[in-house]
Symmetry: C2
Subunit: 190 residues, 2 copies
DNA sequence: GTAACTTACTTCAAATTTTGAAGTAAAATT
DNA sequence: AATTTTACTTCAAAATTTGAAGTAAGTTAC
């Protein structure tokens, strides 16, 4: 049964970017081993998930470094992500929840910190006084602008040519698909 | 003023499940003069990062659900990821660190919980008695097998045809590239 | 051989992030 | 007018992550 599942994944040729098959334990042993030019790697659901977890960790620490460089002490990576999620539009807490799949109390907590730090403004909506409208202050926009500015270097490294752009786009859309599949599964079962 | 630039010429191709351009405030206009046969979305660094964060969150809650279904109470999603990272080989704590880009004390903490729960065995290496060798117990292997079994359904949904396979492969490799770029940047600066 | 240094990991305490239960107030429904 | 639902907040607890300090084993330089 396990054997069968391992073959439900994607077959990948891995000479690209020289990553190491040993990074991926969910591969049948007979396929690694000898130093042949072509390895076939089976990418499963879990490998993708592990990759995503690692990449997420890396990004968070990068963001922390950037924040430190900017001398920002009252905003952590998680809060910075919230600021970036807000972007330059005014939106309600509910919309923000949808954007990041956060849990309500979590966002509420971050928004409080960000409001205390002067990064966002909260105004009760005229239409619906239950609904808080959120928007970046100038300080918040400045921070986002600085982060984006620092991010430009990464964009240039990551998107060198058309091929890179295509791959980034495909990665993005594929992740979006994962988001939907995993999200729907969580709510309605697969 | 910098970020006003970021909203030029955004065209979103919505072939996948109709996601909304408004979800993604950070699309750049940094396209060079090459000919693109069709409209292209230029995905930035931060958009990818936000997507990855969301997907990661979704996966963690899915994993939590699966663990609950299996009646497992002493293993959370983070620990389950560690078990999956170990896979079916025996390795040292250091190797495990590399696999997940964890921080040492973090893994140590998880390994303690997993050892207490009987999911892993720890043996001091003969060669080097500082080095702890880690391996799944039968209980640990059983849990991984159950998780993989449940995961089979997702693999089938995600990888329906060759196109899906190709896209998953590209996503995986692109994430690996992100991992390298972000990781190296964190250590050596970009 | 041994003193100093490095590696491999653990421990602990603190910070950060996430979760869930309970609450408030406004809007919508009955 | 009473009830229910929505939109959010608060608070306390749990889970996760981090960093500083510690231990013990291996390595290197004298």
């Amino acid at each position: 049964m396990i054997q069968k599942l391992l073959h439900e994944g994607v077959e990948v040729e891995t000479s690209i970017d020289g990553y190491d098959a040993a990074d991926f334990p969910e591969i049948t042993a007979e396929k690694q081993g000898h130093r042949h030019p072509v390895h076939t790697v089976v990418v499963t659901h879990f490998e993708l998930a592990r990759m995503i977890e690692r990449v997420n960790r890396r990004f968070a620490s990068l963001l922390r470094t950037e924040l430190t460089k900017l001398g920002i002490e009252d905003v952590g990576p998680a809060q910075a992500m919230v600021l970036l999620a807000i972007g330059d539009v005014e939106l309600s807490v509910g919309e923000l929840l949808d954007r990041g799949h956060y849990i309500g109390s979590n966002i509420s907590y971050y928004l409080k910190q960000l409001a205390d730090g002067g990064y966002i403004d909260r105004v009760a909506s005229q239409r619906d006084k239950r609904s808080a409208r959120i928007r970046l202050t100038d300080k918040g926009e400045q921070l986002c602008a600085n982060l984006r500015n620092a991010g430009g270097a990464y964009n240039r490294v990551l998107a060198r040519d058309d091929d890179d752009l295509r791959n980034l786009e495909i990665a993005f859309q594929t992740l979006h698909r994962l988001e939907l599949v995993w999200g729907n599964a969580a709510r309605y079962g697969i």
